[in-house]
């Protein structure tokens, strides 16, 4: 089977100890220090040698990162709570159904038992030219994202087009979730949407030495205030990464007019893609089919599906429109005239 390269493995039991382990590590190559949580992304990537590290620091023995707490601002979830742990939390299921749906759609039960929420938010961008073994990548002379110089998805491109692969990210962006990032220099809190950059290589705006410790889903995004929906497109009913996802959050006022709206697309860009005009088109209006169709058309324009995952890009682009339409209809309580994905229907 594929084997890991030799590495030093550390499992600190406190955040301070973990932060200390990050200091002094090189940024690249075999000298690099990397964090690992559930390991469902990093370990296979290291076996295939497209992510490298001399030292891997596990966050899984740090108790304070494994809590779920209700605070004044919202539901705060520690970054190493497993995806199954998120799904088993009654508050998540009852108050954030779109989020629960998104987490339930991630991979398969065994991987959700290992994978963590923080890991999913930071999951490496993916590309069929990149997520391959060392030997396979040798046969294409590597790619821009690791060791090579060309982006094989768009050979004239100066940037890497690997796509965002998180299902939790577009949904939590739509719900307005915030993150806490801690480093030995201090801590900061940012909107989740600000974490991401539209670049396949440099896709996370984390600073060196920072650890993602918690995610807060605000109270005003819960089901009392907000209607959410999540639609994921993939070939099979389980296991597969998204080739497109649509996360919708709608806030309605007393008169059933939209007071706030957010639509994010997953897997059709190097970061979750905000359909910015959704807000513009919907706010202040009573939602109807025509408005939904307009947002859906815009979603298709905002999506940049590339030939770097399953299914042909042109079809994924069309599906961005259809799925946005369906997700908005679902959130707005209008009839969904689309064959629903088979997956994600059972939450636990």
């Amino acid at each position: 089977m594929l084997r890991l390269p030799p590495l030093e493995f550390r499992a600190p039991t406190s955040l301070d100890e973990a932060l200390a382990s990050l200091e002094g590590g090189g940024a690249n190559g075999a000298g690099r220090v990397r964090l690992v949580a559930g390991g469902t992304d990093l370990w296979p990537n290291m076996k295939r040698r497209h992510q490298q590290a001399g030292t891997v620091v596990s966050l899984m023995s740090i108790d304070e990162l494994r809590r779920i707490e209700q605070t004044a601002r919202g539901l705060t979830i520690g970054s190493t709570v497993t995806l199954t742990g998120v799904l088993r939390n009654p508050a998540v299921r009852d108050r954030y159904p779109g989020f629960a749906r998104a987490v339930a759609a991630i991979s398969s039960p065994p991987l959700r038992n290992m994978g963590t929420l923080g890991g999913n938010l930071c999951v490496d961008t993916r590309c069929t030219y990149y997520n391959q073994t060392e030997e396979w990548r040798r046969s294409i002379d590597y790619c821009m994202k690791e060791q090579g110089t060309i982006c094989w998805v768009a050979t004239n491109s100066p940037r890497c087009w690997a796509h965002s692969a998180s299902d939790a990210a577009p949904m939590l962006c739509a719900l307005g979730a915030r993150l806490k990032l801690v480093s030995s220099a201090g801590e900061r809190e940012i909107p989740l949407a600000d974490l991401y950059r539209d670049d396949g290589i440099d896709y996370l705006g984390m600073r060196p030495g920072e650890i993602l410790t918690e995610v807060t889903v605000p109270n005003d995004a819960d089901s009392e205030h907000c209607r959410s929906a999540f639609w994921k497109l993939r070939r099979r009913g389980s296991i597969d990464f998204s080739v497109l996802s649509v996360a919708v959050a709608l806030w309605m006022d007393k008169h059933n007019a939209v007071s706030r709206a957010a639509v994010y697309l997953g897997a059709v860009g190097s970061s979750p893609v905000a359909v910015d005009t959704a807000e513009e088109l919907l706010v202040g209006k009573t939602i109807d089919e025509d408005l939904i169709a307009a947002v859906a058309r815009q979603a298709r324009k905002d999506a940049t599906p590339m030939s770097n995952t399953d299914f042909v890009p042109a079809w994924r682009g069309k599906m961005a429109e259809h799925y946005t339409h369906a997700a908005l209809c679902e959130a707005a309580g209008l009839p969904v005239r689309r064959q629903a994905p088979k997956h994600g229907l059972t939450v636990v």
Partner: protein, 850 residues
């Protein structure tokens, strides 16, 4: 004579069609407990003292000459024990004697990304992995070929010098009857071009092998193989050792599906390294490497032209196929013939012309996957029939019923057909699915599709020319009452161990617990050719029955003498041997064996089986014959989203003409497994490759050699299944039992696309039928264009002068016209050898008698 006729039937003539005691019941499979408790030792579970771990270094270029292999960095690593390169194993091997074109490790040339170049052995798998990455190979690139069309256009350089024509490996043209006159008589002629994408077996167990050096320069190879006997032959050739010094043990396979039917590089390598290093050497392939071993479904482009009368009867058919074979021969010659051979087995085709060609391409070699060469033309034919039914205004089920090939007949291409229960199969799925009430009448977006298929119950001829049995069984009995059964058969999960044990237990009237099996071991067991071509129940079953009946007869003679009764009165049942008229006056089975052992000495019997000779006498007649054929019919219900093309299979009704289920639960497992695999091929599976822009790169790589990205259905994707086993014992088969491992796969792919047509009116003439293809069809339909997606052209291929063979109806004798060379000669084997050539090779057949 019999007090209880039911009991009598058990001990007497098992072929009479009466009740069995064990056969036909849902007994627990003999290897079941070990498998579910983790006690089964698969090849990768084996561990020996001082064992080294082997890793193959594989080519990273699609086609090149090897300039230099630098092993120094690998050899300098701590823990590296040794290396191996191609020059140390210069003799070629290959499953078919006509295409022995593989080296254990590439000698001068690499032919695809993944072709093994060198091997390293180390004290741990980690070190072996690092050492393999440290091997540097310099290549001098050659032009590469990625498709059948490119192979046609690129005759030079030849990938193999034995090819029929440039890089076209094999060309076949067989013409039966008066094809042109048949078309003249037709009221309607239909033409279709269809494509079947390549796909792979995806067995859960990755290939693994361990070579163990033994005393006196002998070597044992344990392997996850479906064909230990053929591995034995290949090792003999490659290692240059007498067969008697090589032992091959087939471990339990975690699935095979045809993917472990070839002798493989890694098996040769661990055997050689074990001898070279004097240590056991193990290799277990990664999933990616399994995609490179491949031998899976050939991508096949097909052109089908059929003449129909107004009443739906077929007057003539012309089928052309173009196979993308990959870099080596593998089973390819047989695969090529199989894209035409079984076309005649279901419906009466009085005149038939088959032309087939296989190209060499710089990709992993294709070979036999469940259905071997047959699913592709079957797909084309069944889609074609669905269209014909529409054009003629005949219900698709009715059209098929009108054309059924009669039982006990000989087809235009000289296949002898046995019992056919295809009518019952079609009627069962028509009834079950509510076809008559629902077909063509479901709301937009929902539809039903019907298709049929037929398959071999064992290939009539062995891979290499010989007159020896294709399966042998030995039975040893002694005073313990334990019956030890020895057979070369190979359990690949299909239940062959259980079939073997059950047949012996049935004949001797004992329980499965009384039987010990020793299987798949070339030192200890008589030869069986392996688990392929759905041959095991047929051939091992016949051999087992013969051996068991001989044992029964010896025991019966001894017991009859002791009890002073006639042998013919004796019944074997409930672990006893007793006179039918006086059940209390008998012996326990072990006492009966004691009686026999005392009277006759040490007891042992053998049984063997050679299929009956087929009537075809033309060159190429070796592919297609079988003792009898199984038949299947399926209806699939789909729901299609007309805006997106996304669809879902809702239900599958499958009827299979099985003859007699040895164990209905195991048989159902095979049916449901076939449906699962068929849906994968119909909906999503594709082994496809990608080139990079030629200005920037010469790469030609597998697009997605991983279990994650090679899409195969999961639990969520499985529809409900209703299976019908049509049990009608076929006298040609042991206990009447036909095959069930492959046949039920065949109707699924065409039934799915036929259902898509019923649902949304789009013809998808290729598989996998992806949502984007369906949407393309829907968009074309909305624009008023033909609602059809699929290939639009067929390449111009020179298939050569057809071999013309008069049909039985024309009074033919099975020989080709004007073909003195093959006059009266049996067309040797699956290898399509001339008899003269084959006779020269007779010496190699002495392997099994040495």
């Amino acid at each position: 004579m019999a007090a209880n006729p039911k009991v009598e039937a058990v001990g007497r003539d098992l072929r009479s069609g009466e009740e069995y005691r064990l056969i036909g019941t849902a007994f627990r499979r003999v290897d079941g407990r070990a498998k579910v408790t983790g006690r089964t030792q698969f090849a990768d579970d084996l561990d020996f003292p001082r064992m080294a771990y082997v890793k193959l270094v594989r080519s990273t270029v699609p086609h090149a000459r090897i300039r230099n292999i630098d092993l120094s960095a690998a050899l300098a690593m701590d823990g590296v024990l040794g290396t191996l390169v191609g020059a140390e194993l210069p003799d070629k091997f290959g499953i078919l004697p006509v295409s022995e074109d593989e080296h254990a490790l590439a000698v001068d040339t690499v032919r695809f990304v993944g072709d093994p170049v060198a091997a390293v052995a180390a004290v741990s798998e980690d070190i072996a992995h690092e050492a393999a990455l440290a091997v540097k190979v310099e290549y001098e690139l050659l032009p590469s070929i990625s498709s059948f069309d490119e192979a046609l256009r690129t005759p030079e350089p030849q990938m193999h010098d034995y090819a029929d024509d440039g890089n076209i490996h094999k060309k076949v043209s067989l013409k039966f009857g008066d094809v042109e006159e048949g078309f003249e008589e037709a009221d309607m002629i239909l033409e279709d071009t269809c494509y079947f994408e390549g796909n792979t077996h995806l067995a859960m167990e990755q290939h693994s092998a361990v070579g163990v050096p033994e005393d006196a320069g002998r070597v044992t190879v344990y392997s996850s193989t479906q064909t230990p006997h053929y591995v034995h032959r290949a090792l003999t050739k490659v290692l240059g050792l007498p067969a008697s010094r090589i032992r091959v043990v087939a471990c339990s396979n975690g699935g095979g599906f045809g993917g472990k039917s070839d002798p493989f590089n890694h098996e040769m390598v661990v055997a050689k390294l074990a001898l070279k290093l004097g240590r056991p050497c193990k290799v277990t392939l990664t999933r990616e490497e399994v995609f490179y071993c491949h031998r899976g479904r050939h991508p096949v482009l097909m052109h089908l032209k059929t003449g129909f009368k107004e009443d739906g009867s077929i007057t003539s058919q012309h089928l052309r196929t173009a196979l993308d074979g990959g870099a080596f021969g593998s089973y390819g010659v047989a695969s090529t013939y199989y894209t035409g051979a079984l076309q005649t087995t279901t419906y009466r085709i009085p005149n038939y012309w088959f032309e087939g060609a296989r190209a060499f391409t710089n990709k992993p070699p294709c070979g036999p996957k469940r259905g071997h060469g047959t699913p592709q033309p079957r797909f084309a034919f069944e889609v074609h029939l669905d269209k014909a039914a529409h054009h003629l205004g005949i219900d698709p089920a009715e059209l098929r019923l009108r054309n059924l090939q009669p039982p006990d007949s000989v087809t235009a291409n000289w296949l002898r057909i046995g019992l056919i229960e295809l009518r019952e199969c079609i009627e069962a799925v028509v009834r079950g699915s509510g076809w008559k009430e629902r077909y063509g009448k479901l709301p937009e977006g929902r539809g039903l599709g019907l298709a049929c298929g037929a398959y071999l119950c064992g290939a009539g001829l062995p891979i290499y020319w010989n007159h020896m049995p294709q399966s042998g069984v030995q039975i040893k009995l002694d005073r313990s009452g334990c019956v030890a059964v020895f057979c070369g058969e190979t359990e690949i999960g299909q239940g062959s161990d259980s079939v073997l044990a059950a047949i012996v237990a049935e004949v001797l009237g004992i329980e499965l617990e009384d039987i010990r099996l020793c299987v798949g071991d070339t030192d200890l067991t008589p030869v069986d050719l392996g688990s392929y071509s759905s041959r095991v129940t047929m051939m091992v079953g016949h051999a087992a029955m013969q051996a068991a009946e001989r044992a029964r007869d010896i025991i019966a003679r001894a017991v009859a003498a002791q009890l002073r009764v006639s042998e013919t009165e004796l019944v074997f049942a409930d672990r006893r041997v007793f006179p039918a008229g006086d059940p209390d006056d008998g012996l326990d089975f072990s006492a009966a064996v004691v009686a026999a052992e005392a009277r006759y000495g040490t007891l042992g019997t053998t049984g063997s089986y050679i299929p009956p000779r087929a009537p075809g006498r033309y060159r190429g007649a070796g592919v297609g014959p079988s003792p009898t054929y199984s038949y299947s019919a399926a209806v699939v219900e789909v729901e299609v989203d007309p805006q997106t093309g996304v669809y879902d299979c809702r239900h599958v009704w499958m009827a299979h003409d099985i003859g007699q289920a040895i164990n209905p639960v195991l048989a159902l497992g095979q049916i449901e497994g076939s449906i699962y695999m068929g849906l994968g091929e119909a909906m999503m599976e594709e082994q496809v490759f990608r080139r990079l822009p030629k200005k920037l790169s010469a790469a030609l790589v597998h697009k997605m050699p991983s279990l994650l990205e090679y899409k195969s259905p999961g639990f969520h994707d499985m529809p409900g299944i209703t299976s019908y086993m049509i049990e009608s014992r076929d006298e040609r088969a042991p206990m009447g039992a036909k095959e069930v491992g492959q046949g039920p796969l065949l109707p699924i792919m065409p039934a799915v696309v036929n259902a898509i047509f019923d649902a949304v009116g789009v013809r998808v003439d290729q598989v996998p039928a992806t949502p984007e293809l369906i949407l393309k069809g829907l968009e074309a339909k909305a624009r008023g264009r033909p609602a059809r997606v699929g290939p639009t052209r067929f390449p111009r291929v020179d298939y050569g002068t057809p071999v013309e063979v008069p049909t039985p109806e024309q009074g033919g004798d099975g020989r080709a016209r004007h073909d003195p060379k093959h006059r009266g000669l049996r067309s040797a084997s699956g290898t399509m050898k001339d008899r003269d050539e084959a006779l020269k090779e007779r010496r190699s057949a002495t392997l099994t008698t040495a």
